[in-house]
Symmetry: C2
Subunit: 192 residues, 2 copies
Amino acid sequence: MTVTDFLLNLVPFSQEELNDIMLHFEEEKVKKNELLLKEGKICNKLYFIQEGMSRSYYLKEDGKEVTQWFFGEGQFMSSADSFFNQTASFYNLEILEDSILYSITFEKMEFLLAKYHKMEKCIRLLSIEMFTTLIRKMNATQFHTAKEKYDYMISEFPNIAHRISLGHIASYLGMTQETLSRIRKNESLKKK
Amino acid sequence: MTVTDFLLNLVPFSQEELNDIMLHFEEEKVKKNELLLKEGKICNKLYFIQEGMSRSYYLKEDGKEVTQWFFGEGQFMSSADSFFNQTASFYNLEILEDSILYSITFEKMEFLLAKYHKMEKCIRLLSIEMFTTLIRKMNATQFHTAKEKYDYMISEFPNIAHRISLGHIASYLGMTQETLSRIRKNESLKKK
DNA sequence: GTGATTTTTTGATATAAGTCAAAGGAAATT
DNA sequence: AATTTCCTTTGACTTATATCAAAAAATCAC
């Protein structure tokens, strides 16, 4: 899925509008393990993942990494609060696989938002979708066992879960690696 | 805080624009314990709370209520996913205190969004804010003790926490009433 | 004000998951 | 291919919180 396909799925831009919008995006090829953003910095870019996979994570008080979200092909990626409000980011953005991204700076995005009524609608819909997915995670994790949380993870990220290290998955789900290992073992035993 | 103040805080509408927008809102006086929305129904209205307090909640598998969010004076309230996508709501919306609300239907909101570029921006900013507050909850609860969760609750809702029943607070924080009671007791002991 | 109902607290016990440590396996590096 | 590093699993033990039940307190209805 390309950026233009994604945008067209949300709002019916004209070809002319799309062409103009795409002039403000830039292609970036990035390597696994690159940090696109470090906590404390302001996130000045919104990224679209054409190929590859990434995650946003923060460090908890004991210094351990906690994954906040995973981003796969066909998704926008950012530290949303930092990008939209231009404030210091709580998160790091890390590339998990060699990737091809399309990025746009905050300034250019603000320009497009002011220029195109449709662009405002588009990013509004994107924001609502981000909210919806986050609520889904809250509801699927709170008051749920570790096993149920793992089931949610598999259903939320069916196409990329198998490409993610178990340590990252555990932290995303709010559990320890040991716990995840145990429930995965129980799950495989139960399938026999 | 009035609806117009709230909107003006987000986007500089003209007086004329605001007047037009307010023509689409309706004042509603509602009583404590009223259900504005039942799960399974489509949420057709977005509410602004002028006075009072409400919550959104869902039923978990064992039939117990889990509060998803609290809404106080000066806030918009809805089952966001249901309202914006016009899909069946997972949540109930319950009035916790006699309230004065200003409501707008989905159809009228869509009309205003199409009519005013500024309105799209306004609701985009509102959506981002909703997302931000939800992330704040996730980060404050995941990998945190029950006490830490309670501290987050007090800081998130300083003006309304004392008006909310402890059972609702407990479910909002993802813990049992018993646990909340115990940490509150420990907190009061420690303050001596 | 009285009785009924609901909410909060308390006590005892159980349990799911965390913590610590190390073994085993897989991937990366040389 | 051998070695090093990182990831995953396993075992033993601990702990924070859930569960169950009931007492105490607060609120509601008449």
